[in-house]
Symmetry: C2
Subunit: 331 residues, 2 copies
């Protein structure tokens, strides 16, 4: 009798527009958890560092703590939770719920993240690669709202893309679609990438590559005030008139333009949404856009920055958790 | 009363496995028409030249003649025909049934091919870009049978791809997905492509580009027996030990390898099917495969040659016509 009552009440709950979901963004340095209602409105957020506590078990414990705090703060009963979705910074098999590999978090290997989340939170769980989650977020309420063919291009320390084709996210048979940091274009290395090492494009216009370029440009030069800049800082230095910084910006923009142009030649994506610490840089977008203005054949992609910024992954996680709830209703 | 009988008989016919379809491959130099039964078995083929008769009206008249002859030869009544599908060598809007532009056939512009076919043959018609049709053919009974994520890469005078993602052909919002002849990789020009002119990759490793490379390599050299070779001839010359031909082959293979690698980094396509006069060359495939063996990250695409060869488009057209029939049954 108790069983029957529970089943009934659960069915009633999941069919209504009531209930809540949890979105999780597991990053290389930060863990972020959000509680949202069925409309996707965020009711609370919780952060923690993953710098020292990177094992899957510890991260799961952190997520549990975050969920408990969020429920308490928002005065939402635990029984109201319907699903959890989490993004991980690595190759992720969404069907199996496993993070195959990541170069962050001290290198997770074959972590059964869905199973860990489900048994810790007693909720249906789904996992996804973080950049693909960000693309889902931008497609939902960001810069690519309702756009069926677009590329979310994350440029930070790493470079990767979340690609939508015909309104659907592309994963590829080995779950590595969008690993565009490996692309080879004029100006990048042509050498094969080593296992676990960054690819050619990432080595050149990822954050570290741009900083190395800048240090090379500064070498033996006097009157360089700021050797210790981030990529974004270097680009603003270029805007301020520094010649070395200008050449670094121009070269980075040209290489990025070739990558965008090549992806666009393959997929005819109408829109590229730039995200990540380097990708959000205004001077880089402007310089890349300027170069692409000459490249009009066979089509001309539009470049914009991410509307959701650092929240893109977390918002994508909420959307994915809501989708999980929907899919259970329609089972 | 007559109307009712006709409608009924047509419904009966279209629901059964009986009936026939027409596949058409409109090429820059040849027009090919095939008659097939509902299983896709080709019952007859008909060819004509399009070199002098390139206007849409004349091509349509040629197709009419071909269809009449095929029906007669196979003793199939015209009333048994259920649909026609045609491929054109240019940017084709499958939904609208219009060929926007082609650099062949003296430059068709906005040709309403579906409307022309339907009014000439009194059959439901569908049109598609020829390289995308070839991909459909390879996916049906060729080298990519039942593969959900693959790229058919046609390399001849032109270069273009038919791309399947998640089991579906990619068209892009402007119908120019797969125009990979525009890709820019190390070894190609970096200059923007002019409207109507070939792209960087096509200029370098399309048939004409390879021949130019060869003529350059031959310049001022003695003991070169065969300046007037096709790309395929040059590649076999390389196999026979000619040093200049070897360097042309090696350079072409390297550039092709970068294009394949970049597409694979974007989409994680597991299989590349090479077609077209240059793409079908065994020495080119072997040399490209050899280079790609070092490029194992993030995934390693397999390269094969087209199983259907010059028939890929025509067979794709038959499959598309059969799909058109199916879609009408399920309307």
């Amino acid at each position: 009798m108790e069983q029957r009552t529970r089943t009934q009440s659960s069915r009633t709950r999941i069919n209504a527009s009531s209930g809540h979901v949890i979105g999780v963004d597991i990053g290389g340095s930060n863990l972020r958890v959000a509680l949202a209602d069925r409309k996707g409105t965020i009711l609370g957020r919780w952060d923690a560092s993953t710098k020292r506590t990177s094992s899957p078990e510890v991260v799961i414990k952190q997520i549990q703590r975050g969920v408990s705090q969020l429920l308490k703060q928002a005065a939402v009963p635990r029984s109201s939770l319907l699903a959890v979705a989490a993004g991980a910074p690595g190759i992720t098999d969404r069907d199996a719920g496993v993070v195959f590999a990541t170069s962050y978090l001290k290198g997770w290997k074959n972590v059964p993240l869905v199973r860990l989340l489900e048994s810790a939170l007693h909720l249906p769980a789904v996992v996804e690669n973080d950049v693909k989650l960000a693309a889902i977020g931008e497609n939902w309420i960001g810069s690519a709202r309702d756009v069926r063919d677009f590329v979310f291009l994350a440029i930070g320390t790493g470079i990767a893309a979340g690609i939508f084709v015909n309104g659907e996210l592309v994963h590829g048979p080995d779950w590595v679609a969008g690993e565009v940091g490996y692309m080879i274009v004029p100006g990048t290395s042509e050498a094969p990438a080593k296992r676990g090492a960054p690819g050619a494009l990432e080595r050149t216009i990822g954050g570290d590559g741009i900083r190395k370029d800048w240090l090379r440009a500064c070498e033996g030069k006097r009157a360089i005030s700021a050797r210790d800049l981030t990529a974004t800082g270097i680009f603003y230095h270029a805007l301020a008139g520094n010649q070395h910084a200008k050449s670094v910006l121009e070269q980075s923009a040209r290489i990025l333009a070739y990558a965008v142009y090549n992806i666009s030649a393959v997929l005819n994506s109408s829109l590229f949404v730039l995200g990540g610490g380097v990708g959000m840089s205004g001077p880089l977008l402007a310089a890349t856009q300027r170069i692409l203005e000459s490249y009009t054949q066979p089509s001309r992609p539009k470049l914009v920055t991410s509307a959701l910024g650092q929240d893109a992954q977390l918002i994508g996680a909420i959307r994915l958790a809501l989708d999980k709830v929907e899919s259970q209703i329609h089972l």
